[in-house]
């Protein structure tokens, strides 16, 4: 079986799709699937050992003022496609996905002169360019971890002027995604909750959706053996993402004893200010530290030595930090938002509370902190659950089964 992956951003530090592309293709290749990749910038770490990687260009002009666009990009605006991409960005539209999909279409047209594919796997691009690709007679599968409607809702929570709302609405290409996703052969999502969300957001029929749990690096994410400290909470995630519900975590912190501290794995001030401003408002700056961006080794060490991981999310398409913490044998306290209830087993590897409830969050944190034996027990069960459900070989095997099903159904209709 030969599969062509499309990924508009391949870098592992861009929203998760880069990590997904890298690890899933690596495991699929081990299971005998031939992999080709069309990928946009920032480009992934080297994957040439197991895949043919074709790089697709992207001008990336969004939010760049015309006078600040680098010369080498300016001179390329003479092409109609590039000028259209530029023009869209002037109206606050985000054309990266549709631009990538059209460039991928033209690249694929060239590739098909010498190669053939059994299936195309798009990684949450859903651009217009996927529709003409259907003309090549190859089934197309896409992975959507969560619909962009969730990101838009989180942005709406920060909007208050008409201009804010207008630019948010213009930014998200939801109409394009709604139209395209309903015309693809199968949609892979990482949770049962995701099926409902896709149905609500895009009117997608549940029978077109397959659930394949996300994978994590089970070998890389295991307890580093460092001494676990008491009363130290850990939060891992983008502090500018309002879906993370950090305000509720900070409110819970104000109700917790002073000795309990919080480490946030993300940039703090001066680069990222919104979380820091809230911390100042709640007067807890002496109990909260930011690590900045960390490498995987440091992240594993943090998971392995902090008392527990907290996630105060209002929505999660999967909840990767919870799965990673569990793999490191760390208990978790999370909300029941989105897919978290499928990742964390309440009472076994952690405790779960309703979103937007700082009192319940505080109570759950205290309950886990007071019982060391329970912490160890939760850690063990968390590791076992992560190995069983979230390893990349399991994710790859389940994805391959979806491929086989899609190909069989597609060919039976020809």
């Amino acid at each position: 079986m030969r599969v062509l992956f499309l990924c508009y951003r391949g870098n592992p530090f861009c929203g998760g799709q880069g990590i997904y592309l890298y690890n899933l293709t690596k495991e699929l290749a081990k299971q005998g699937v031939e992999i080709d990749v069309l990928v946009g910038p920032p480009y992934p770490d080297p994957m040439e050992e197991w895949a043919n990687v074709y790089r697709i260009d992207n001008l990336n002009l969004w939010s760049v003022r015309t006078r600040k666009i680098p010369y080498e990009k300016l001179v390329r605006l003479s092409s109609p496609g590039n000028f259209t991409e530029y023009a869209m960005t002037r109206f606050h539209m985000f054309p990266e996905m549709e631009a990538f999909s059209f460039r991928a279409f033209f690249a694929l047209r060239k590739l098909l002169k010498e190669r053939s594919y059994d299936l195309i796997h798009d990684v949450q691009c859903l651009g217009w360019g996927l529709l003409p690709m259907k003309g090549f007679g190859i089934p197309i599968v896409t992975t959507v971890h969560h619909p962009l409607t969730k990101d838009r809702e989180a942005d709406f929570m920060r909007n208050h002027t008409l201009w804010d709302f207008m630019t948010t609405i213009m930014f998200y290409p939801l109409n394009m995604q709604r139209f395209v996703i309903n015309r693809l052969d199968r949609v892979i999502t990482s949770s049962v909750e995701g099926v409902k969300e896709l149905q609500n957001a895009f009117g997608l029929k549940p029978e077109k959706v397959s659930v394949v749990m996300n994978g994590i690096d089970i070998v890389g994410f295991q307890n580093s053996g460092g001494r676990r400290v008491d009363n130290e909470l850990l939060f891992v995630g983008n502090t500018e993402d309002h879906k993370k519900g950090l305000r509720y975590l900070f409110e819970a912190m104000t109700m917790l004893p002073e000795k309990i501290t919080l480490t946030i794995v993300d940039e703090g001030p001066p680069k990222r200010l919104s979380a820091f401003e809230m911390i100042q408002k709640y007067n807890i700056e002496h109990r909260v530290t930011f690590t900045g961006k960390v490498d995987m080794g440091t992240l594993v060490h943090l998971y392995s030595t902090k008392t527990l991981l907290v996630m105060s999310s209002l929505h999660e398409g999967f909840g990767l930090p919870a799965a990673e913490a569990m793999a490191c044998g760390t208990p978790v306290v999370t909300t029941t938002a989105g897919a978290l209830k499928e990742v964390v087993a309440h009472g076994e590897c952690g405790l779960m509370v309703p979103p937007k409830d700082p009192v319940a969050l505080k109570d759950a944190i205290l309950e886990v902190l007071k019982d060391k034996k329970r912490q160890k027990d939760m850690g063990k069960k968390g590791r076992a659950r992560a190995v069983d459900l979230f390893s990349w070989p399991v994710a790859a095997e389940n994805t391959r089964k979806v491929y086989e099903d899609v190909i069989e159904k597609y060919r039976s209709t020809l």
């Binding site: 006078r67 010369y71 080498e72 300016l74 001179v75 605006l77 909007n159 208050h160």
Partner: protein
């Protein structure tokens, strides 16, 4: 001079020239004393009006849709600090819907009357916005320092 910079100058000059020509013949000449607004046959009028109408109604439809989306947003309540800053966005969105509907009605009425201005005004808006962007890119090319490697002969 690098070829790209020549294209930059060309973009500026051509957009200015085309803009001036369009502005004069489609606008000023039609309002000069004694000017007769062009009379087109029905077929000729609608051959121009239909594509322009699709664009105009598309843009106005998008404006209405944005206003309607803001009016009907159902999400978790905004952050408390945002609630305090009441900017009457929903009231403004209501007026956005009202204005887009009104302009669309006016535009369709103009088409029914076969008014010259019903097609000239939106054509001018689209043309001048496009030429404006070409002009602005040209200016940027001219005034931005080249980062491309120098090629012999340029």
């Amino acid at each position: 001079m690098p070829r790209a910079r020549i294209y930059g100058y060309l973009a500026v000059l051509v957009s200015l020239a085309l803009g001036a020509v369009f502005f004069y013949y489609a606008g000023i000449e039609q309002v000069l004393p004694g000017a007769a607004v062009p009379v087109l046959s029905s077929n000729a009028y609608y051959a121009i009006a239909v594509p322009i109408g699709i664009v105009v109604l598309g843009v106005l439809g998008a404006g209405f849709w944005i206003g309607w989306t803001i009016l009907t947003i159902k999400v978790a309540p905004p952050m408390p600090e945002i609630v305090e800053k009441n900017d009457y966005a929903k009231i403004k969105a209501f007026f956005l819907c009202l204005v887009t509907l009104g302009v669309a009605g006016l535009f369709v009425y103009g088409l029914v009357l076969k008014s010259y201005w019903a097609i000239a005004v939106p054509a001018a808006a689209v043309t001048l916005v496009l030429l404006g962007m070409v002009f602005w890119v040209g200016i940027a090319i001219i005034t931005t320092r080249s980062t491309l490697p120098r090629v012999k002969g340029n």
